[in-house]
Symmetry: C2
Subunit: 246 residues, 2 copies
């Protein structure tokens, strides 16, 4: 028999998701690195040893490492081994990395940095969107807004709608790289929103701000769109800071 993996060998579909093994390992290691369990400069155990320890084959382990390496988290060379890269080489805007960062509660500084980035990018994107939006874009924003109003931000549907609203705006800006930022930032927005509600604090009703922004984009007024988006992000940051220090 090839390899009697024995009795059971529960692949814990809850703890590590339903992905393939290489994906799970990449995720687990990614979370560990983002969470600080492995610091930049640290050398991981050798392939054979570590793969054994994780109870996966070298093949699967190596594919996981390739994923992390593609995202700039680790670098491996013969003889030296695989070591965690310097933070400056990490691809902090990669959607997976953001997700992993929020898996173990991220630092306040990191959250503030993300909001600072939103503050830079989203108002500008809103202004572009006000100039370039098609009627289809408007329809998508309007629909998302409606859904958001119906469900509120404490439900999954509501958060999905909020995310759809922001995504629709960024896509209306008609700029590929900007849309790439979109998925990352939109995801981060969702995570912080979850945090807000997890902390039980009851944030202000976000609908008026969102509606004002929508109106500005409908009106095709870039400067108004920029102003309202700035305000929206500022208030979201204020809420989040309240939630972080109750």
């Amino acid at each position: 028999m090839r390899q009697d993996r024995g009795h059971e060998d529960i692949r814990l579909p809850l703890a590590s998701g339903s992905r393939r093994i290489h994906g799970s390992v990449a995720r687990d290691l990614g979370v560990a690195i983002l969470g600080g369990r492995y610091a930049p400069g640290d050398v991981l155990p050798g392939e054979i040893e570590f793969a054994e320890q994780l109870k996966v084959s070298r093949t699967a382990y190596r594919e996981a490492i390739r994923i992390l390496s593609a995202k700039g988290l680790v670098e491996s060379r013969p003889r030296t081994g695989t070591r965690v890269s310097q933070r400056s080489r990490w691809n902090l805007l990669d959607p997976d990395i953001l997700a992993w960062a929020f898996e173990s509660e991220p630092s306040e500084i990191f959250i503030r940095d993300l909001f600072e980035l939103r503050m830079i990018v989203e108002p500008a994107a809103a202004a572009l969107a006000a100039e370039r939006r098609s009627s289809l874009d408007l329809a998508r924003m309007g629909h998302a807004l409606e859904e958001m109003g119906r469900h509120g931000l404490s439900t999954d549907e509501g958060r999905a709608a909020d995310q759809a609203f922001h995504t629709a705006i960024l896509e209306a800006a008609r700029n590929g790289p900007l849309v790439a930022l979109s998925s990352s930032i939109a995801a981060a927005v969702t995570w912080t929103t979850i945090f807000k509600h997890r902390r039980q604090s009851m944030p202000r009703d976000p609908m008026p701000d969102h509606r004002a922004l929508y109106e500005a984009i409908v009106a095709g007024d870039p400067e108004a769109a920029r102003r309202t988006m700035t305000e929206l992000v500022r208030l979201a940051l204020a809420d989040t800071e309240l939630a972080l220090r109750p």
Copy 2:
């Protein structure tokens, strides 16, 4: 001779660089996808067939695919095969992806999008840098500026200095995710600069703009820094557009 590797087995070290095989394959496929040889939705040949065709083992091929998948370029599932993802899932800000995009001459639209992003991010970053820069940051900027003046943008050293100048500014903004954008944008800047000179057009001397920006950051004046950086990017865009349509 260290080790007679047999007859020949030319791994064409020029065509594919000196990386490991999985890296070369990832790069080649990445360039092919970014260059449009494989369109979103296309299904790649099966593992066995394609690996054979590329004359590499399935192991190396699969690791290459993991890299591409980590960057959002492809998705693979049993039965369906590996297919190129929709553009919206591509990680357009990933440094490798940007590099691959510029490998086969990128579209004018893409370049314009990148400049639009620079126009959004870099002035804001310059403003933050003016507020937060340390004396070390200033020293690095000053040094880069000096090098840039000495070599000019037609040499590798000069371009490296230009890139170092922009990187120093973004790092002075003290924002992790922003720095992640830095490497991508800085790289893109360098490539567009190469394009400019490759097209033989002789762009305007960039030093006065750079010096004015430097002065504003030294003076700790955010608004001046924002203005001068905006102007710098605008002029760079104008030069590039001239180079693109001679």
